[in-house]
């Protein structure tokens, strides 16, 4: 049982508002990738630390993040 963040990275504009509100500080831009808009998209560096508070998803202007709690077979 673990929590799961799913990123619709094609919509991400790399604004990092989610990074600024994450209480666990586990979000960062994926500098190894560029999406079709030309931005480095967001990624989670440690999913096991996620508490599924959904602060990142709530502030995201582009509805990039889906938050699920207690997902079987993950983490």
């Amino acid at each position: 049982m673990a929590n799961l963040l799913t990123f619709d990275t094609a919509r991400c504009k790399g604004c990092q508002l989610c990074v600024s509100v994450c209480p666990k500080n586990i979000l960062e831009l994926d500098m190894s990738r560029v999406n079709s808009k030309g931005y480095n998209p967001i990624m989670c560096r440690d999913m096991s630390a996620c508490i599924a508070c959904a602060m990142c998803a709530r502030i995201c202007p582009d509805s990039v993040i889906k938050v699920e709690k207690d997902v079987l077979g993950e983490g």
């Binding site: 929590n3 799961l4 619709d8 094609a10 919509r11 504009k13 790399g14 604004c15 990092q16 508002l17 990074v19 600024s20 509100v21 808009k37 931005y39 599924a52 959904a54 602060m55 998803a57 709530r58 502030i59 995201c60 202007p61 582009d62 509805s63 993040i65 889906k66 938050v67 699920e68 709690k69 207690d70 997902v71 079987l72 993950e74």
Partner: protein, 250 residues
């Protein structure tokens, strides 16, 4: 199966937001869409989009929409609500639209006590046209038409719209909230939901003023912009309920 805590609202289309990175228009769009879905009125809602960055808001909502001339959204909303009283009619206007060219329309719509909901996004600048000074631009704030900062004896003091609207006898519910951090986003959603509920209950004119950002126009990063809202905008534009006739009478 996991429990979904948060996902993109069914009230929004799949169309990507056209706004600049970190612009809180997108966040506020989500709150409006979520409120309409939760109240179960999305299929009978009508958006009246304004002029400004949100001119294309009709692409983003899964409901009917009209795009009004600059500042005239409350007048168009009046017409729609009067011929179709079952529709849930709301305007989505910025400060350049509502507080400048549309001041007359918003004041008279409130004076008539029209049963509509107004979502007023105040980011203290004209975003779409290139970051010019707006009526709500703060003193000393730099814009492309006030490069050394707004000066009081030239441009006057920033307009406090919620305070002004609360003085109108026929307005029903006026609240100022902010979307710059998560606790305030939750309060903003509560205020938006209340404004729509007032309309569903036939209470009359409701307006929610939402402090927002313009990272590109302010020449700061999105995160710095949210800090500017907290440190500079909130002290001048105090948050809170300015008028709630429902509270007074109950």
């Amino acid at each position: 199966m996991g429990k979904v805590v948060y996902e993109k609202s069914a009230g929004l289309t799949d169309s990507p937001m056209s706004y600049c990175p970190g612009c809180l228009h997108g966040t506020i769009h989500k709150l409006v869409a979520e409120s309409l879905v939760e109240l179960g009125v999305l299929d009978r809602s009508v958006l009246v989009a304004s002029v400004g960055c949100s001119v294309v808001a009709y692409q983003f909502y899964n409901c009917d929409a009209v795009q009004a001339a600059h500042g005239r959204a409350p007048a168009v909303a009046t017409g729609i609500k009067r011929v179709s009283p079952e529709s849930i009619v709301f305007t989505y206007q910025g400060d350049g639209d509502l507080a400048a060219i549309g001041t007359s329309e918003i004041i008279h719509a409130a004076h008539r006590g029209e049963n509509i909901t107004v979502i007023f996004v105040n980011n203290a600048i004209y975003g779409m046209t290139g970051g010019q000074m707006a009526p709500t631009t703060l003193i000393t704030q730099k814009t492309s038409t006030s490069p050394k900062g707004r000066v009081e004896n030239q441009a006057g003091l920033p307009m406090k719209v919620s305070e002004m609207m609360a003085q109108i006898p026929s307005s029903y519910y006026i609240e100022r909230v902010s979307a710059h951090n998560v606790p305030n986003i939750l309060k903003t959603k509560k205020a938006i939901t209340k404004a729509f509920r007032n309309q569903i209950d036939g209470k009359g004119f409701s307006m929610v003023e939402i402090l927002s950002t313009c990272p590109i126009g302010w020449h700061v990063t999105p995160v710095e912009a949210t800090k500017f809202v907290e440190s500079a905008m909130v002290p001048y534009f105090p948050l809170g309920v300015y008028k709630d006739e429902g509270e007074v009478r109950s």
